[in-house]
């Protein structure tokens, strides 16, 4: 494994549930992220998979410092980011950028594309105008857009092109990690492949790391080096994309695979359709949080919470079956 860039150690984020309007009393906690640990290596892609409400987006917000963790630490290049101040904090922020799902709402409709891409540069370094302009041109070229795009507004572009603009903006400060939150799910099928290829090219060219959040399992497998599967705020399985593709261990991962759509009508797969829905994170089930939906649940599963065990090759799974 390559050098570790970012590491999450027992990361926790609890949101209070309050009652009352003025004197808000906390009546419970939503454990959106509950003790998650994993590492992203330099130049690697970590795929984060799970259903809605499993804490994927909260994890990314914690990494982007948009939320403060309740417990645990995020370590970037050996430093705890909460301890960062001044220049150190600034360096971290420029090193971690984001691309969001919906390119229609992540770009300001009243600003020209050139200014959108230049904004991070201007805010951080304030280089001379000519330099900014040259850099914007370079970035547009990198993401496969025409240099004349600089003078246009976001509404003049299609979804795929807008996503390219968002990527160019994320690249402008030469970050080392980009958080990709569902980067292709709002795009048309024929455009998705273009964007995925572009992301791979950029990763190779600049040695970028990605944190990829998506629910399309096939796309995550295709892009990721390692994959973390989350369920109700917990990490249930972690492994390389080959580990997960060929031998998923956790029943939840197996169910996700079985629920994913086939690529050919003759493709035969074990049918493992989960009954029920994701329980409320306000009141998660006791023991293993997955046990009410798990087809292999034993009595121990409802009592004892499984810990993450490491199998061969760094493949980790939290399940009593192993």
């Amino acid at each position: 494994m390559s050098e570790t860039l970012l590491e999450l150690r027992d990361l926790k984020k609890y949101f209070p549930v309050t009652k009352g309007i003025i004197f808000q009393k906390p009546v419970g906690w939503v454990k959106a992220v509950d003790g998650v640990s994993y590492a992203i290596g330099a130049g690697e892609t970590l795929g984060l998979v799970g259903e809605s409400g499993c804490g994927k987006t909260t994890t990314s917000k914690l990494i982007l410092m948009l939320e403060k963790p309740t417990g645990g630490t995020i370590v970037f290049r050996g430093q705890d980011i909460q301890a960062l101040q001044g220049d150190g904090l600034k360096t971290y922020r420029r090193n971690v950028q984001a691309v969001f799902q919906d390119p229609f709402s992540s770009l300001n409709p009243r600003i020209r594309v050139g200014d959108i891409i230049a904004e991070p540069l201007v805010v951080n370094d304030a280089p001379p105008k000519a330099e900014v302009k040259a850099r914007v041109r370079e970035l547009l070229h990198l993401v496969g857009l025409n240099p004349s795009a600089e003078y246009l507004f976001p509404h003049e572009f299609s979804g795929g092109q807008r996503q390219r603009i968002a990527i160019a903006r994320a690249l402008s400060l030469n970050p080392s990690l980009i958080v990709l939150d569902e980067p292709v799910s709002a795009l048309d099928v024929s455009i998705r492949a273009q964007i995925m290829n572009l992301l791979q090219d950029l990763q190779q060219q600049f040695g970028l790391s990605y944190l990829l959040i998506a629910h399309d399992l096939a796309a995550v497998l295709h892009l990721s080096t390692n994959i973390a599967v989350m369920y109700l705020g917990k990490l249930v399985e972690f492994g390389t994309s080959d580990d997960l593709r060929y031998k998923p261990l956790h029943p939840y991962t197996q169910a996700l695979f079985s629920a994913a759509l086939p690529s050919h009508p003759d493709e035969q797969r074990e049918e493992l359709i989960l009954s029920g829905e994701v329980p409320s994170p306000l009141n998660p089930p006791s023991g293993c949080r997955f046990h009410p939906r798990c087809p292999f649940a034993k009595s121990v599963c409802s009592e004892v919470e499984p810990v993450l065990k490491t199998a061969a090759g760094g493949h980790q799974v939290a399940c009593h079956l192993y």
Binding site: S190, M196, A259, A260, P262
Partner: protein
Amino acid sequence: MTQPLLELDQLRTYFVSAKGTRVVKAVDGVSFTLNEGETMGVVGESGSGKTVTSLSILRLLPPAARIVGGEIRFAGENLVAKSEREMQRVRGSQITMILQDPLMSLNPLFTIGEQIAEPLRVHRSMRGQSLVERIKELLRGVRIPSPEVRMREYPHQMSGGMRQRIVGAIGISCEPRLLIADEPTTSLDVTIQAQYLSLLKDIQKRSGLAMIFITHNMGIVAKMCDKVGVMYAGRLVERAPVRTIFTKPAHPYTEALLNAMPKLTEKTERLWSIEGQPPDLANLPPGCPFSPRCPKAEDRCHREVPPEFQVGDHHHTRCWLWERR
């Protein structure tokens, strides 16, 4: 051979601007047939005319759109020639539709029970206890637990998957012969999507209804459909039985769509991407609309619109490459 349940014959639906100066050919000569109990998948990108085709079948088009030509024969009757009054008797009773976003298709101010009751009251004149029984039966049919309680609740009290199942229950309440599902699972999680798709299959097995599945996802097609129509820029560029589409795609667009999909079971180094953007329907290129993006395009493709060629059994495509054969 028996008469097909639904037959679209050269259907053309255009959007015309107020002064009639701009015409967008949203659906341009689409033909296909669908038999009782069959499932047809209509695949295409946004703006390819999938949804307008299905809205044309139901005659629920927005005011600017007009069916300018062609016929829609449903059980032998031409729906295009029907009056609005006659159409009302078809909609919701013979043909129903499930839309993408269940929150948009349910009224937040009425209980679930009320909303399922409406088509039954209108089309089947059901009242009283028999109506209540039927609602419970339908809710059980879509696997909603404790229907007595749930029917008195409102849409906001349900999860996304449950709402979509309620919409499904409304859709099948009058035992229609054709169900059109327009991207019914895009807003759902994968495990819930799998539940919903298997539910729809069950319902189909029980009642023998025909379905049209509108989607952009080839995976859903592989899982659910018997035959497929691939739409591009308002035209059906290829139609074939589902296995043929996946094993021997004839149109370069279909081929590209299949190759652009990452596979779950095997590793691909790089995806095959289709360069360029989907065309602007108001400003189509001359010739084949796919020609600017087509890797196999020849001179002729840029000049003349290809007609439909027969490739094999029930396999048709609109591509010049198949002319010689």
